[in-house]
């Protein structure tokens, strides 16, 4: 993309006499005409575009008014990018747009879809305008198509980049959430695990837990995995290893909060959970741990 950009700019910038210059002058002349046409029919074309967007069920996460407002600003930026060929502004706009709509749950295909729709809507209007002059139509399209494609490209790349940035940021945030080993009662630890477990984190978890067992002289540990969305074979084996290693230190492990999905996965991949003590939820796990430790929790009065 940058290559074609620079060559087209070069041919304009350097006063290189020849066909190139003539053609580029002609094409920028055509682009000017094109832009004037798009400006003139702005209301009608934008309307048509919005209708097409809702027809194809894109941007379903946004309301009609939001789509219209967004469409207006995209349309104007689009025309401006066609006119000035200044893609930096468009890039910045695409980033800004992505920042706003990614949290709304807008998908990549939707963004690419609406930009391509706009390209098609505008192309149709060009067909209509120049249908009597086929040669002129051809030349107009010659000028329009590369620019339009580059715009679509820029917006899509901007969106994907923004999305990737968000994903990276979230991954870092998850990684930074260290998992605390907490003492709830004497000799009873809980280890709430939240988020994605990868082998590195699993190892860190196990080490932290084993150290915690030793320093707190724990006899029972409740590992709560309510906050773990999914579990694969490696992670499940890590969990089994953690349970076994804790047992070597003389601590009993109770695993709580296995979701139906995880239970299904574990049964399907055939992890040996026979050695594991599992209880439905964290409360049940703590109650069972208290029984193991010989605690009895009694209610003394009704809560006020």
């Amino acid at each position: 993309m940058s290559k074609s950009e620079s060559t087209s700019k070069d041919s304009e910038a350097r006063s290189n006499p020849g066909v190139d210059l003539v053609r580029s002058e002609a094409s920028s002349e055509l682009l000017r005409e094109l832009v004037a046409h798009l400006r003139q029919n702005r209301t009608q074309l934008r309307e048509e575009w919005v209708v097409r967007i809702s027809e194809t069920r894109l941007l379903t996460a946004m309301t009609k008014e939001e789509i219209f407002a967004e469409a207006t600003s995209i349309y104007d930026s689009y025309v401006e990018a066609l006119e000035t060929e200044a893609f930096e502004a468009l890039q910045a706009y695409a980033r800004n747009l992505s920042e706003r709509i990614i949290p709304r749950g807008v998908e990549t295909h939707e963004v690419v879809g609406i930009v391509l729709l706009l390209r098609d809507v505008l192309a149709r209007s060009l067909f209509e305008k120049y249908q009597t002059d086929f040669k002129k139509l051809n030349r107009i399209l010659d000028a329009y198509e590369p620019a339009a494609n580059r715009i679509a490209n820029t917006v899509a790349v901007g969106f994907v980049q923004e999305r990737e940035r968000v994903i990276r940021q979230q991954q870092e945030a998850i990684r930074e959430l260290s998992t605390p080993v907490l003492q709830v009662r004497e000799r009873l630890l809980i280890l709430p695990i939240i988020g994605v477990i990868d082998p590195q984190r699993a190892r860190q978890l196990t080490e932290q837990l084993l150290r915690g067992i030793r320093t707190n002289r724990a006899k029972v540990v409740v590992i709560d995995i309510t906050g773990v969305a999914a579990m694969d074979l490696t992670v499940a084996n890590n969990l089994v290893q953690t349970v076994e290693a804790s047992r070597l230190l003389g601590a009993t492990v109770i695993v709580t909060g296995l979701s139906p999905e995880i239970a299904q996965t574990l049964v399907t991949i055939g992890v040996d959970l026979g050695k594991m003590n599992t209880v439905g939820d964290l409360q049940g796990g703590i109650e069972q741990a208290e029984r193991l430790l010989g605690y009895k929790v009694e209610k003394l009065a009704e809560p006020r």
């Binding site: 080490e207 030793r214 002289r217 290893q241 076994e244 230190l249």
Partner: protein
């Protein structure tokens, strides 16, 4: 280096001092299995606190000791496995299945006295 075997009431206590050779481990195994019946002990505690590495031979010997002691009518508790050792053992698949474990000697003794109480 020989491992001393101490008698404490109905319990025999063997404390590993440092990394032991295979021959030492074999001697310990025979010594424990013989003495457990000789002293009419009800349980054996093997304290491995001083071991910062546990190879597969040592781990297998511990398991064998536990099984042989059971056949001789007593119980075994392994105590004092270090966190790093525990992690390494588990990764090698050495989980000492069917053998009781406790955090340290104190815990092991507490576990056994609790057990003696219920079985009496």
């Amino acid at each position: 280096m020989e491992v001393p075997i101490l008698k404490q009431g109905a319990v025999l206590i063997a404390t590993f001092q440092a990394a032991l050779s295979d021959a030492d481990l074999n001697n310990l195994r025979m010594g424990l299995v013989q003495q457990v019946v000789k002293f009419r002990s009800r349980a054996v505690i093997v304290d491995v606190t001083a071991m910062d590495v546990m190879d597969s031979f040592a781990s297998r010997t511990l398991r064998e000791i536990a099984l042989m002691i059971r056949l001789r009518g007593a119980e075994t508790v392994i105590v004092g496995i270090q966190p790093e050792v525990a992690f390494a053992m588990v990764q090698l698949g050495l989980t000492l299945e069917g053998v009781a474990t406790a955090l340290d000697l104190e815990e092991g003794l507490a576990y056994l006295s609790e057990k003696f109480k219920t079985t009496n």
